[in-house]
Chain length 395, copies 2
């Protein structure tokens, strides 16, 4: 359906399921493995014969992977590695006024990756979470993914490449609860990342006071800002491609060209809602995009570079005639991106999501004025022992 | 009270108040300014005559600040600026296989800083939140802080230095709700940062599906790892200093020296619980610290540099005879640090908390193997239009 209007910025949509999710989490915290088995039977209709897949089984499953898919994964692996390597931050040290200080980046110790399942398997999601984690230096990676029957061969192959510690054939809110709090078979981790349905995201939200999460990921969002030189067929394909993720995708085309909007309108097919919006200038389009804070932003114009500087809120951006779907698979940057307006305050997944910046200080011959300043402000705030603990060092 | 045992790692403690906090948030979302007035009267016993303090009033209040405190703030300002400037990341660009990619760091647009009040004012908190935000390039900063009577002069002075847009004399969960969702007088922001009591932290948790938060901050934590060369008076002072934050502080001394432990034990005073633990080596102490994941870690030994490399989980670290309280005020790094085990997955506040890394891609002459890889994996996942949208570009 074509709408000639602007959509509202998306907001999270798991409110309705939170009570149910809270109940699932509590059952897992109390009942452990037994609760995981019961919930998986009850919710997914799957009888789990084991909660941890054996290494030999994962190896066996990876060996049935189509060699063409294996080669594609290997190719993409190198490209994602090259991007995330570029972003990896160095430790930094410096000093001022006799204080030596710095920041050291340390990887998260235990990481849980949730990989959604369903009709199909999503090996790209495991790569997009696992590769930056590996580059950050995370040593213990655990993966939970629902399987109906055997483990998907591509997931098995990638899990091996990532040297994953354990793969759990568990899905839904119960998988998140298990990784957050641990059971007899499932290790409690320090952080959980990965996309999933509203139950998974609701669970990530509820456990996020106790373990780290990457973000709460919702339906796909794409805003294309295009001018009269954009190829209408490609624009229509890009919109329909993101529409493949489901009817709740937010799909928006903004253009200063009435002709382009009409041409694209005639080419769009399928059940999605497509929002087509006429603006008087591309700059106006950028302003609208900044309000929508979309997951994907495509600047389909030769002015892309120039307009990039004006973007404030977006997950990832494709420039010119670059298909947004390339970021979903092989361009290099991550496809685990902020949705539901989270691009206002968070970027896509990078090595930073798997690192902690720990600051350190050594102050031996600190300037007198800094000592006095610390004492004065500490006393102003009523913290006299704070002041004394600083003062005695540098008398 | 001295305990010769290890404490457990702290966990968040707002569960008991979440229902009450949820109710407060809903009242603000529905009732706006009127609800803010009612809740502030009801909870804080304060009758608000205005919800936004006038610029002229803030200026007036800043002018009564003791010049010594003003000078101390100016000094600390420069030191914090020098540290956060060091950490500020550059935009990065690169490419591989015909794909040009990179990451641009963009500041958050609208930021809310919560500054706790109570018996005293905490100007250091406003600096620790505001200075990295300013260095990150945040343009619109809003501050909410409970006032009983007039605005604290140091808060007023710092708000002016930060060019804060609005100061709201509002505290508690209602302040967080107002900044998250907006009212007639309070602007909705993109992210909320700052320490506060369990109501404030519970509110930050509940709004965190819709707006960014820095972390959920709990009671202070300090682990000191010291050897026989540490000065017992300084060690005792450091522990008692962090004890000033209240009886729920976690205060731990770990040493391989029974003598030091006994000497410190004799010097400790006050109502706090102090945990004193004997280990056979400093390395064992580091292992314990990594499990506790404390907010503050002091390596009070000449081997500090060497041991630093073994630390995995800590908020901020002081080396050698450096007082942890120096980080609270003037060393340079931030004092808004992870607590309740959050150091397992998050560092202290830096410019990164106020920036979003937006990735971009331009792919004009991408290698054929990457195009094919994207198509193969997309089709494997059942996303044929994704595959087509990539394929048509590079035929």
């Amino acid at each position: 359906m074509i709408r000639r209007e602007l959509p509202k910025r998306r907001v999270q949509s798991f409110s309705d399921v939170l009570d149910r999710v809270r109940e699932i989490i509590n059952r897992v915290r109390v009942g452990g493995d037994q609760a995981l088995r019961e919930l998986t039977l009850q919710i997914d209709g799957v009888k789990l014969d084991r909660l941890v897949l054996e290494d030999s089984y994962i190896k066996e499953r990876s060996e049935v992977l189509d060699p063409k898919v294996k080669e594609a994964i290997d190719n993409v692996w190198l490209q994602l590695t090259s991007f995330h390597d570029l972003i990896k931050p160095p430790n930094l040290g410096g000093g001022s006024e006799g204080v030596e200080y710095g920041i050291i980046w340390k990887p998260i110790r235990k990481l849980g990756i949730y990989v959604p399942g369903g009709k199909k398997a999503y090996p790209s999601s495991l790569m997009m979470a696992g590769i930056p984690a590996k580059i950050a230096g995370v040593k213990e990676i655990f993966v939970s993914t629902p399987t109906r029957g055997d483990l998907d061969p591509a997931i098995a192959y990638i899990a091996q490449k990532l040297q994953v510690k354990n793969v759990y054939p568990i899905g839904g809110a119960q998988a998140i609860a298990a990784m957050a709090y641990g059971t007899e078979s499932v290790k409690a981790v320090d952080k959980i990342v990965g996309p999933g349905n509203v139950y998974v995201q609701g669970a990530k939200f509820l456990v996020s006071s106790d373990v780290g999460i990457d973000a709460i990921e919702g339906p796909t969002e794409l805003v294309i800002i295009a001018d009269e030189n954009a190829n209408p067929k490609n624009v229509a394909l890009d919109l329909m491609a993101q529409g493949e993720h489901g009817s709740s995708s937010m799909l928006v085309l903004i253009s200063n060209s009435a002709e382009l909007l009409n041409e694209v309108s005639n080419l769009l097919q399928g059940d999605n809602e497509f929002y087509l919006v006429k603006v008087s200038s591309l700059e106006e389009g950028i302003q609208i995009a900044n309000e929508l804070a979309p997951e994907h932003l495509s600047l389909y114009t030769s002015r892309a570079r120039e307009l990039l500087a004006r973007v404030e809120n977006a997950g990832a951006i494709t420039l010119g005639n670059t298909p947004p779907a390339l970021i979903d698979y092989s361009a290099g940057p991550d496809h685990i991106l902020p949705t539901n307006g989270w691009a206002r305050f968070k970027g896509g997944l990078t090595v930073f999501d798997f690192l902690k910046g720990i600051s350190y200080v050594r102050a031996e011959r600190i300037s007198e004025s800094l000592v006095k300043s610390a004492e004065i402000i500490a006393r102003y705030e009523g913290f006299n022992v704070h002041a004394n603990s600083v003062g005695v060092r540098y008398e």
